[in-house]
């Protein structure tokens, strides 16, 4: 018995020793080959699918922007339109016909890229509902799109559209996509379909919600990028992603929390980037929700239809405290609904218009407006209803949980009782889109072109049926709509910006919602591996989720020395060997302990 056991043990030891020796050899042998430079990006948001006509998540939109070039792009400098596939563009005098001059370029498979590809892309979207899923809003006003020759693209519109130089529509190759009959079919996510592009990188591998690999496109018209490959790897756990950046498993990460960002701040080899964000947080104040036919819907508190009450609420909020305490200092002070990152169109209220935090003034305004305080300190409206307001927020979001406490504290001080309702994201969506709220925490991400976010506040997007709204705050105001229409039809940028600011000023004054802050985009990257990544805007913008591909295209690998130092870490195989060794050690110790235990055990029992 003992002999048998010993021989077994000897064999196991031999096996372990072999593994110990063999593993690093096996693993390092292929690593000797010339390694391509790879920029590995951690994605902490889901990857839905890659078909550029239907992909809708922020991560996939970002990957689409890298794969397929647009007619025009938002520049890295200041987000204003610069040439993409279109070398130049000219609107007709009435603004209804746009002519784009398409550059002489090639697809990544070497085939020529022509105006017919662009015409195909737009016509497909106009004729096939499934192809409108992701970017359909851009072609809503399109009458016809034609390509009279290989270099000319003509778009005729039903009515003037200022966003013609910001069409966020990836142009796809006709020779690949014309064969696709069902735009919703899974085949449209295969590399055979999505692998041919005209952007700086093209897709070479895709694992659902796990990994997207991209390779530099040598036919890219600006010239091939300096990085050979891009890997987008999905992390379901943001803390694990931060850990991976620390360990050098990934090179770039975004959507960090303030705590995670602070923890990375002074790490050697890592550079953090605090960018002016594209998002704003807001407090919706139900101004009397109504549908498209102006019939009231939902169960909002009637007092909130009174603009004086909404203004008093706006005055009782201190954004400085929210930015400091809730966002950990990583936010910008609020103004209009276009964030300051888009400087051209951003509205900043002057001292006279600004709602400065003043509880006494807010109290006085409500007294004056006819909402006296009752015996319990809660105000009562002219109709006898107490000012008891529900405040809806997302239970899953740390921001909401904390901001709700501050808001109910301040509103309590001006005699408004707040009933906090923290519920699931879907419940928030459901109650806000049906008008069943008084106050609600919401927020939006915006594009360089202000049209979409401004359009969301017009009367024309009020819901046809309850719950189907694309209105943001149930705002419907003729003066706002007039200013919106003026900016939408204006193609001269400075003039358009002026109208856009006036429209935001009107919105700000009527306060159907109060912008609380513009969150910073918090990002970090391995500066020991990549010496520079282009921000958008260059001065203080973000690296990921840009309106373009500037960061990835402009990525410059760090010098030879740094690269060598970095790859000096132990290869995977060595770590497995160490792991195997550790396991072996544990087994040996275990056996030892068990033998001692056995001896001790027998002794115990003999007594």
């Amino acid at each position: 018995m003992r002999a048998v056991r010993n021989s077994w043990r000897r064999r196991a030891a031999a096996l372990g020793a072999t593994a110990l020796v063999a593993a690093p050899v096996l693993a390092t042998a292929p690593a000797q080959a010339q390694q391509p430079t790879v920029l590995r990006v951690a994605l902490v948001q889901s990857i839905d699918h890659l078909n550029p006509f239907t992909a809708s998540f922020a991560s996939t939109a970002m990957i689409g922007r890298i794969s397929w070039e647009f007619l025009t792009l938002a520049s890295a400098e200041d987000n204003l339109p610069v040439p993409g596939l279109a070398e130049s563009w000219t609107p007709s005098a009435d603004g209804l016909t746009w002519t784009f001059k398409i550059r002489d370029a090639k697809w990544s498979d070497g085939k020529p890229l022509t105006a017919r590809d662009a015409a195909f892309t737009f016509n497909r979207m106009m004729s096939d509902p499934a192809a409108r899923e992701a970017n359909g809003t851009f072609v809503e006003q399109f009458q016809a799109v034609t390509a009279p020759d290989d270099r000319t693209l003509t778009v005729t519109l039903k009515k003037p559209q200022a966003s013609m130089t910001a069409l966020d529509v990836p142009i796809v190759p006709e020779h690949i996509w014309s064969g696709v009959t069902d735009m919703a079919s899974p085949e449209t996510d295969t590399v055979a379909k999505v692998g041919v592009g005209s952007g700086p990188f093209t897709i070479t591998e895709y694992q659902t919600n796990q990994l997207v690999k991209m390779k530099a496109n040598e036919h890219y018209w600006r010239g091939a990028p300096k990085v050979d490959e891009l890997h987008f790897v999905r992390f379901d756990n943001a803390d694990a992603a931060v850990n991976a950046l620390n360990n050098g498993e990934v090179d770039l990460i975004n959507r960090l929390t303030a705590t995670q960002f602070d923890s990375l701040k002074d790490k050697p080899g890592i550079t953090t980037n605090k960018a002016v964000g594209r998002r704003y947080d807001e407090l919706l104040i139900n101004p009397g929700a109504q549908n498209f036919d102006r019939q009231p819907i939902g169960d909002g508190h009637p007092a909130l239809k009174d603009v004086r009450v909404r203004k008093a609420i706006a005055r009782a909020i201190d954004p400085a405290t929210i930015i400091d305490k809730v966002l950990g200092g990583y936010g910008e002070a609020p103004g209009g609904i276009v964030p300051p990152v888009f400087k051209t169109y951003h509205y900043e209220p002057g001292p006279a218009e600004k709602y400065t935090f003043d509880l006494a003034a807010a109290n006085a305004a409500l007294d004056q407006a006819g909402y006296p305080k009752g015996a319990d300190g809660v105000r009562v409206g002219p109709d006898g209803r107490r000012l008891e307001l529900r405040l809806t927020g997302h239970a899953t979001r740390d921001y909401d949980q904390r901001v709700v406490k501050y808001l109910s504290g301040w509103l309590g001080e001006i005699g408004i009782k707040v009933i906090e309702k923290l519920v699931s994201d879907n419940e928030v969506d459901e109650s806000t889109s049906a008008g069943n709220y008084d106050l609600a925490i919401s927020g939006w991400g915006t594009n360089p072109d202000p049209d979409y976010i401004l359009a969301k506040q017009t009367c024309s997007v009020l819901p046809a049926t309850a719950g189907s709204t694309s209105s943001n705050a149930f705002f419907c105001d003729p003066e706002y709509d007039r200013l919106y229409a003026l900016q939408a039809a204006e193609t001269d940028i400075p003039k358009r910006a002026e109208y856009a600011k006036q429209a935001q000023a009107r919105y700000y004054d009527q306060a159907p919602s109060v912008v609380l802050d513009y969150k910073n985009a918090l990002e970090a990257y391995r500066s020991d591996k990549f010496s520079s990544l282009t921000k958008q805007p260059v001065a203080d913008g973000a690296l990921m989720e840009q309106s373009g591909y500037w960061s990835f295209y402009g990525a410059v690998p760090a010098g030879e020395d740094a690269a060598a130092a970095d790859s000096g870490g132990l290869p995977t195989g060595a770590w497995i060997a160490i792991g195997a060794g550790a396991v072996l050690l544990v087994v040996l110790i275990g056996v030892g302990v068990s033998r001692r235990g056995k001896a001790a055990g027998s002794d115990d029992d003999k007594e």
Partner: protein, 342 residues
């Protein structure tokens, strides 16, 4: 131990014919399989209704935060079929199920069956490895702890097992990740840049497996250890052990040949009962390490909510519990003559 089985077999009906040899066994099996099928049917119906009670509109969720017009929303609703009456949706779904079609994921735009198919193996690898190790470790420690009950070893082992059992998997996983300082990969089952070839790929998967497996192992081995310990303790006062000792048998022989085989029964059934549950219990571990298995898929489907995917995953998870319970019952009958007799 009988408690563990009876809770797992809530649908068990007394069968007067069970005593009669072959026919009894067949009947027993047919009854169990029938009850399993009824459970599955209930799962299908309940799953369908439950997931439609989740507030919110999948279309709104999918289009949140990006430019969409009301027409686009309506077109999307029509494509996904969520604009149809509930009964029609259920009939479509059930008809699809009968043809083996689990539907198409709203978010990933792929057949649910395909998505589940490619996620099953990573989960089996992770859960399988962890279970095998946990059973081995749990039984070994359990036997030792019971044989030397009250000793320092027993107290320490029981304490450690109970502590690990009550630790949240999520937290333990993160702590391991941080503590190992990059020795092991932070996510997934494979690295994007592993050179092709059987050995490098095998090593790569093994390397990725270490942390999630250890996390899962640390949490699940405790129950095997505790059950083994208590069932061996029950056996230890039995007369046959006194007899064996009286015959002058060596202590470790008494333990290995007589006590342990008798005490093993509850643990073996527990392994099968647990296996069904563990598949769903890996949600947290898989979410921490982004391990591409069924648990992670559940997590992703819930976040949507991606109704077809949720229903599919729900069906598979419930199905695995039903099947494993069936195995446990059959196995128990095979292993323990007393159950067959009564």
């Amino acid at each position: 131990m009988t408690e563990a089985v009876s809770t797992a077999t809530g649908t068990e009906l007394p069968d007067p014919d069970e005593r009669r040899g072959g026919t009894g066994t067949l009947r027993f099996l047919a009854g169990k399989i029938g009850a399993g099928l009824v459970s599955l049917l209930l799962v299908v119906v309940l799953g369908f209704l439950l997931f439609r009670m989740i507030p919110g509109d999948p279309v709104t969720t999918m289009t949140r935060d990006r430019p969409t017009s009301p027409q686009q929303l309506a077109e999307l609703r029509a494509r996904l079929g969520v604009d149809k009456p509930m009964l029609q949706q259920f009939l479509d779904y059930f008809g699809g199920l009968l043809r083996g079609d689990l539907g198409t994921s709203y978010i990933y735009n792929r057949p649910v069956a395909d998505m589940i198919g490619e996620r099953v193996w990573p989960t089996i690898l992770l859960v399988g490895t962890a279970t095998v190790l946990a059973v081995a470790l749990g039984l070994w420690l359990g036997v030792r702890a019971a044989w030397r009950r009250g000793s320092g070893f027993d107290k320490v082992q029981t304490g450690v097992a109970l502590t690990l059992w009550s630790v949240p998997q999520f937290w333990l996983g993160l702590m391991l990740l941080i503590a190992t300082q990059g020795l092991f990969p932070s996510r997934g089952m494979t690295s994007p840049d592993t050179p092709p070839g059987f050995f490098p790929e095998l090593l790569d998967v093994a390397h990725h497996l270490v942390l999630p497996c250890v996390t899962l192992l640390a949490v699940i081995y405790a129950q095997y250890m505790l059950v083994m310990r208590s069932s061996l303790l029950e056996e230890m006062n039995a007369d046959y052990l006194t007899t064996a000792r009286a015959k002058g048998l060596r202590d470790d022989l008494v333990r290995r040949r007589h006590a342990v085989p008798n005490a093993l029964l509850p643990t073996v059934t527990l392994v099968f009962l647990q296996f069904g549950l563990v598949v769903s219990g890996t949600v947290t571990v898989e979410a921490v390490f982004s391990w591409p298995g069924l648990g992670l898929l559940t997590f992703e489907a819930l976040r949507g909510p991606d109704l077809p995917l949720l229903q599919g995953v729900f069906l598979i998870l419930a199905g695995s519990v039903v099947v494993m319970n069936l195995f446990a019952e059959v196995l128990y009958r095979v292993l323990d003559p007393r159950v067959r007799a009564s």
